[in-house]
Symmetry: C2
Subunit: 364 residues, 2 copies
């Protein structure tokens, strides 16, 4: 079996050790005579897995002890609606900072739930679509001090931008961290609420990690269906209804790997090394590899670049695939090349990509 | 490796062949050099799996070709809210038939979304809680002919009751089939909407199968967040946002097994054989095994019974576990014994249980 270099944008590469453990015990979990998939979510065997996963989130991220750590379903896209359903009461307004397609979607859903406004956008119109090439600066944020919350998207998979500073806000700060959760240590106490689809940095698709300050949960709206209230899930330790048990199990396996590899400090070192190598290769040949994102807004998770022509880009993707480097096609809305280099992607994969890029540029 | 006899109520037993295939290709899916968990949901490899799963649902259930078959997240508990969000406009009311704890929950959520009424209930008050021992008859249904829909729960995991006839309704019929979907052939065209959490009969937890008549989707409310509209997911073939890809893959594996075992006619034979054997053992010793459910309402999926004392019940569960028969403890709200005998549970498991029961009764 030979594993490819996987640069998929999500679902994405997972640590081999996490997959191998899942494989080895898939039919018989820890000698219980059944798969973890067949265990009751109310049984003690699954309960141990569930709480180990939650404990690892707390430990690795340094989550303040009074914060809630929840596992939810429906993807980050569902949280685009559920965040305002919980946090945006009638008469209040929420601030949205637009830095890409995902924050646009979050803003659109919030407008269907209540009142929302744009506190800042770095979008520029080009050929009929909105492009984003940078993260705004504090001075650009036109914040409503009375806002119910301020929503930001910490990393933008489509455009390859990432926040490298934290905005100062009077209102509670809410962050969609789907595509860079745990890429490095972060001060969780600065946030009122963090949510992240698991399928980029910490596990499979079908699971959302949500971390919330206790007041956010306690003061959430009560006039919404019970299933959507954060308080419901907080009270039941994410066991109000049947959780996606295998997804949580796999997150546990991934977080064990993160811990074994130096925790979030280890991830940051790993990710910065990969980023330096890859952006170095791009900047080495600026006439061939064009990086559209402003340098201080560059993402360490999704590295996007263009080649001199669409034909060359197509050839690049096709030849890379033959060389065992897959998932490099840019998002259908932006085109170009995108290498997603989440936590599980190894330095050796980026080295292979960089060698391929240099050779491709030389021959072109 | 020795597999136990798994009578869990859900997540529950899965066909061994479905698990073994998942195990064998967990690290490298069909020679692609990555796990199915790491494949993009937009790629052709996953797309094949996705459409095979949908195709198998259509084929096995004989879904009318214009009906939508969707894979959603959030569990059936989320559909308790999302069904009325889509189908219950202001000014209308929905009818609920209460036959157990799950229909009570569905009704409670609907009341938070709009107007809902009880069209029938078989609940009886006993020692401060509501017990259900039967399915109502047509004559007991006090239906509102103007109702937006009529909601029923086809099988009740807690109380072990199951509908063995289909109600006649003027309003569109909506069924929660979480715990008996595909247990036998059913005429899908009688229903406006069917939904089912996958984790009992067709796969792992974290996935909902939804089958809907085209008008139900087309006329759904548009003033709710986009992520909750059935039309959103129907338009995108359940790929509007990242689906739980591994769960869908596993459902595909399970449905391949169903097909290989005679489809739903094969499942019905299998389930009726198991039911006859197990209820036969109960009825053989009515003074020892007390079956609280009326005979014509007995479930073929969840067989519940009591023993002469709580002490004997505890001993039964403990000794059964030692004998490799697990998951037999009744639901915490009802007590007693519950054997869940979903599609994947083999006749040999029920035979082992029946032998154990006879021996236990003899010694007691």
């Amino acid at each position: 079996m030979s594993r490819v270099h996987n640069f998929n944008a999500g679902p994405a590469s997972l640590p081999l050790s996490a997959l191998e453990l899942a494989r080895d015990e898939l039919v018989d979990f820890e000698g219980t005579g059944m798969s973890i998939l067949e265990h009751s979510h109310r049984g003690k065997d699954y309960d141990r897995v569930h709480n180990e996963a939650i404990g690892l989130v707390r430990e690795l991220m340094g989550v303040p002890s009074d914060y809630h750590v929840l596992f939810l379903q429906g993807g980050a896209s569902q949280q685009f609606a559920v965040v305002p359903m919980n946090l945006l009461p009638p008469g209040k307004s929420a601030d949205y900072v637009l830095t890409g397609g995902w924050s646009e979607k979050a803003y659109a859903e919030a407008q269907l739930v209540g009142r929302a406004r744009v506190a800042a956008t770095t979008g520029i119109e080009e050929n009929g679509s909105t492009l984003y090439r940078r993260i705004p600066k504090q001075g650009e944020l036109q914040l409503d001090p009375e806002a119910a919350y301020v929503h930001m998207t910490s990393n933008n998979t489509l455009f390859g931008t990432q926040w490298h500073w934290l905005p100062e806000t009077k209102a509670p700060l809410v962050a969609d961290m789907s595509s860079d959760i745990m890429w490095k240590p972060v001060d969780v106490s600065k946030f009122a609420l963090i949510y992240a689809g698991a399928q980029k940095n910490i596990g499979p698709s079908g699971l959302v990690l949500l971390i919330a300050r206790p007041d956010v949960v306690a003061n959430g709206r009560r006039d919404i269906p019970k299933i959507f209230r954060y308080a419901t899930h907080a009270k039941e330790n994410s066991l109000y209804n049947t959780p996606p048990t295998f997804s949580i199990y796999l997150v546990r396996n991934v977080l064990r790997w993160v811990k074994e590899h130096g925790g979030l400090a280890g991830m940051e070192k790993r990710n910065r090394d990969k980023g330096a190598l890859l952006y170095g290769a791009i900047d080495e040949k600026p006439d061939f590899f064009r990086a559209p994102v402003e340098k201080e807004s560059r993402s360490f998770m999704n590295v996007v670049f263009r080649l001199p022509s669409v034909e060359l880009e197509e050839r690049f993707v096709a030849e890379a695939k033959k060389a065992g480097l897959v998932g490099l096609k840019g998002h259908r809305s932006t085109g170009g090349i995108r290498a997603s280099t989440y936590n599980a992607v190894g330095l050796e994969s980026v080295q292979a990509l960089v060698s391929f890029m240099r050779e491709f540029a030389r021959k072109a």
